[in-house]
């Protein structure tokens, strides 16, 4: 802070010497104020960028609107959302071999079903448990039953009335994939969700 007056002083001394230097240099005209051209250019640049931003925003808004419109249109085409909700509701969950424990990733799938059931109080569903072909045929009926029950318990524990959910087991009797490898088995170890009643018109959660 102390240096600032000193700096100013030395500056003044320098100006005084220069003034004493005689004629002014012609090649370096002292700017008398902002250059009007550069101002105009800056203004222009600013206006342009503003305009571009506005256009971009408009374009985005339009795109958003268009996408929303498309979704709305497709939802409307699918019976005002009912079909979309049904698709969401029918999303299967899968299990590890000889296990009936809900996987971490599948909890989110079940959360969606909880939301759908909450948004549609008249909806009743059936959960069917399935197994791959490796285990014993009859034991798999019991295992499929555990899998269906596990999903029901999850949904009920999130506030859905148990009377709205029926559970069944098909064991390994109704495979989805016909192969005899892990890929097929993994697909077949599943819970399926189907609507029993109240599915005529479904609200989005």
């Amino acid at each position: 802070m102390k240096r600032l007056p000193l700096l100013l002083l030395s500056g003044l001394v320098a100006v005084a010497f220069a003034a004493c230097g005689g004629k002014q240099p012609e090649t370096t005209p002292t700017p008398t104020g902002p250059n009007p051209d550069s101002l105009r250019a800056a203004q222009q640049a600013h206006d342009d960028s503003m305009k571009a931003a506005q256009e971009e925003a408009d374009r985005r808004a339009q795109a958003d609107a268009k996408r929303r419109q498309e979704i709305a249109d497709s939802l409307a085409a699918m019976g005002r959302g009912t079909e979309a909700v049904k698709t969401l509701l029918a999303t299967m969950i899968h299990f590890d071999y000889d296990k009936a424990i809900i996987r971490g990733g599948d909890a989110a799938v079940l959360d969606q079903k909880v939301a759908i059931l909450q948004a549609n109080p008249g909806l009743r569903i059936r959960i069917s448990g399935h197994c791959d072909e490796r285990g014993s045929d009859e034991y798999n009926l019991a295992l499929g039953n555990r899998r269906a029950t596990a999903a029901k318990q999850y949904v009920v524990s999130h506030g859905i009335d148990g009377s709205r959910i029926e559970t069944v087991s098909y064991g390994e009797e109704r495979p989805l994939a016909q192969g005899h490898d892990e890929e097929a088995w993994a697909q077949n170890r599943r819970d399926e969700f189907e609507i029993l009643s109240g599915g005529e018109s479904l609200k989005q959660p």
Binding site: D98, R126, S128, R134, G135, S136, D137, E138, Y139, L141, A142, L143, N145, R146, T149, K152, E166, T167, V168, S169, Y170, E173
Partner: protein, 463 residues
């Protein structure tokens, strides 16, 4: 059936035998060796004699196959095959090869006017069986004791016409009587195996003939089970997610749902030996548990197990009706347990090493009560095991391919099971005593077999 042969081999007893050689088993070519050789393959020989009437020849072929499939005889073919004309041997005539002169005797002189006992004996036959037409539509099967040179027993039975559905069963029953006459043991010829294929229940004769559809609806079916009298069976069908149990009469084909079933997933029915009770598994949101229902009066559902956090399923009665073996997951993986028929005194039946032994399932108590067959996961595939009820020792029966769902024949010696040893899953029959295996059905996808008891004659009118 089996003979212990005392094999005494004197192998060039050389003069250079040193005492140390007696302990050196690698030097078996020196010295004297005495041993007992167990040869389970040595069985009494039986020749089923050719017949000349074409209709009876069909009967003879079926009967000969039944005898072969009993695995209790060495079936002997006459020189020249079945086409040989059996000529009457001159009394007292003996083929040059007849070595057992001491056994032949001269007692068969009278019967030898039609039968060549010395020839059969030379071929190694202990028994000769002849099929002949009786009066009317009856057939006479004569069991000859070759060594004694006479008739052991003469069996008569009504033989329905060739096209009659009862024709085959009548012959199978004659084959069982032949076994009874020759060895005094019961056969398994007059039996059928129920199984599931493409979601339907089928029936097939134990010799692989006469496959028939027996389930009568389009509903997917599982788990057929026989009543001990062979007149009824039960099975499960899926009805809109529920498992319904049905009782079906063999003779009429009529069926009716079991009382108290239909509102849950009921499966794996098992008849009590007296036919009054049906035990089954019921899956609910509490898990799977065992129940019984009185099928005589159609009432009185009784719960035998309370699992809550584990499952109990697949009941099978001991033949005296006092106990039920079943599958439980109470220790984690499914294993074989046993309890009194009223559900008390539940305990582990087939021992296992916790954390090491694989899942065990599908138990079936043998008709003689001595063993329980089941399958167990061994290294990711299933193998058939038998549990000795008295000692609780477990023995592995199969090792080739995947083998599952064993079911006992009424002789407690043969067993049908599902195996993919040939490349695809099909039904096979194993003789537990000799290890002989034959395919029952050359079709892929057949499973869950249930072997019948010896069938009563009225069952012959099965549609």
């Amino acid at each position: 059936m089996r003979r212990l042969l005392l094999g005494l081999a004197v192998l060039s007893a050389g003069p250079t035998v040193r005492p140390s050689d007696a302990q050196d088993t690698s030097a078996i070519d020196r010295g004297v060796r005495i041993g007992i050789v167990y040869r389970p393959g040595v069985r009494p020989g039986m020749v089923v004699l050719p017949v000349h009437a074409p209709a009876l020849d069909s009967a003879r072929v079926i009967l000969a196959r039944d005898v072969d499939y009993s695995d209790r005889f060495e079936l002997i073919t006459l020189p020249g095959g079945d086409s040989i004309r059996v000529t009457a041997a001159a009394p007292g005539a003996r083929p040059p090869a007849a070595g057992g002169a001491g056994r032949t005797g001269g007692g068969g002189a009278a019967a030898a006017t039609t039968l060549n006992y010395p020839l059969y004996q030379a071929l190694g036959a202990d028994f000769a069986v002849a099929v002949a037409a009786g009066s009317g539509d009856s057939a006479i099967v004569t069991v000859h004791d070759v060594a004694a040179g006479g008739v052991r027993r003469e069996l008569r039975a009504r033989l329905p016409a060739l096209k009659d559905p009862g024709f085959r069963l009548a012959i199978h029953q004659l084959a069982d009587r032949v076994l009874e006459a020759a060895l005094g043991v019961g056969g398994t010829a007059a039996t059928r195996v129920l199984f599931v294929m493409d979601g339907k229940v089928y029936s097939i004769d134990q010799d692989g003939a006469d496959q028939k559809l027996v389930s009568s609806s389009d509903h997917q079916a599982m788990s057929p089970a026989w009543a001990a009298d062979g007149r009824r069976f039960s099975y499960m069908e899926f009805w809109q997610g529920h498992g319904r149990l049905f009782l079906q009469e063999v003779a009429s084909g009529k069926r009716a749902p079991v009382a108290t079933t239909g509102q849950a997933l009921d499966f794996t029915p098992a008849f009590s030996p007296d036919g009054k009770t049906l035990a089954f598994s019921r899956a609910t949101e509490e898990g799977t548990d065992l129940y019984t229902v009185n099928i005589k009066d159609g009432c009185c559902l009784q719960r035998l197990t309370v699992g809550r956090f584990y499952d109990n399923l697949s009941p099978t009665y001991s033949p005296d009706g006092q106990r039920i073996a079943f599958v439980s997951t109470r220790a984690g993986l499914p294993q074989i347990y046993v309890m009194a028929a009223d559900g008390t005194d539940q305990q582990l039946f087939a021992p296992f090493d916790y954390g090491a032994t694989g899942s065990s399932n599908a138990p079936e108590w043998s008709p003689d009560g001595q063993t329980v067959a089941f399958h167990r996961d061994v290294g990711g595939t299933l193998q058939v095991f038998v549990l000795d009820v008295r000692t609780r020792a477990v023995r592995q029966l199969t090792s080739v391919g995947r083998n599952e769902d064993p079911t006992w024949a009424p002789d407690s010696r043969h067993m049908a099971f599902v195996s993919d040893r040939s490349g695809y899953r099909q039904l096979w029959i194993i003789d537990v005593e000799t290890g002989r295996i034959r395919p029952l059905l050359q079709k892929s996808g057949a499973r869950l077999p249930a072997w019948s008891p010896r069938l009563p004659e009225t069952a012959s009118s099965t549609p």
